[in-house]
């Protein structure tokens, strides 16, 4: 990994933000699905 600070263009920043938002939606959808179930179900089985 390049550890020098190299400024990113607006296009690069925007692409990073949009990709982050898409991943975030997937993450929250996944958590929402899981929380709809009994949290300790697997633990108790």
């Amino acid at each position: 990994m390049d550890k020098r600070f190299t400024p990113r263009s607006n296009e690069e920043m925007l692409a990073a933000v949009r990709a982050f938002q898409a991943r975030q939606k997937v993450m929250y959808d996944r958590l929402d699905t899981k929380l709809g179930k009994e949290i300790y179900q697997e633990e108790m089985a």
Partner: protein, 166 residues
């Protein structure tokens, strides 16, 4: 999947936390509110490896005075740093319009953490994306060898977010 010692976490956490096969953390409060927490590695947002910290309150019911909830979340963050080090990136989800409340509650709780002084925290608040206000923060240990670079990259991200995003 991040490394966490769930047994160690549960020694400190007031609420009993389970970790599922994906590495997500799940628990339920005394008031029946279900929480899910996830850490996902993201390199693009900061141009540096950072773990996105996600918290979902399934019931949508606020619990600002639940001290056990605060202590559970702080115990999870503490275990994250103990096991992984690194950078924690928290960008509030915006779907329910409660991001400002959630963000300030999180900051208030983190600022009461007994080891708060060990961490550098930077925030970005009230930046607009298509008329939606966004709130976020990074938390990184002050001893991190790349601290200066990480803060510079977060400042770059914050400066970008403060401009209208089109």
């Amino acid at each position: 999947m991040i490394a966490l010692d769930i047994s160690l976490l549960n020694l400190k956490s007031p609420y009993y936390v389970v970790q599922d096969a994906d590495g997500d953390l799940l628990f339920e409060t005394d008031y029946g509110v279900k929480y899910g927490i996830s850490f996902e590695l993201n390199e693009g947002m900061m141009n540096y490896p950072a773990y996105e910290f996600g918290i979902l309150n399934k019931n949508g019911q606020p619990s600002p005075n639940d001290r056990k909830l605060r202590d559970t979340i702080l115990a999870i963050i503490e275990e994250f740093f103990r096991a992984n080090g690194g950078v924690l990136l928290y960008i509030c989800a915006t779907g329910d319009g409660m991001q400002k409340y959630r963000f300030h509650l999180f900051l208030r709780w983190f600022n009461t953490y007994e080891h708060r002084d060990l961490y550098e925290i930077r925030t970005v608040e009230d930046v607009m994306d298509d008329k939606t206000p966004n709130y976020g923060a990074i938390i990184v240990e002050k001893t991190h060898p790349d601290l200066e670079l990480i803060l510079a990259r977060f400042d770059e991200l914050a400066a970008f977010l403060k401009k209208p995003i089109v």
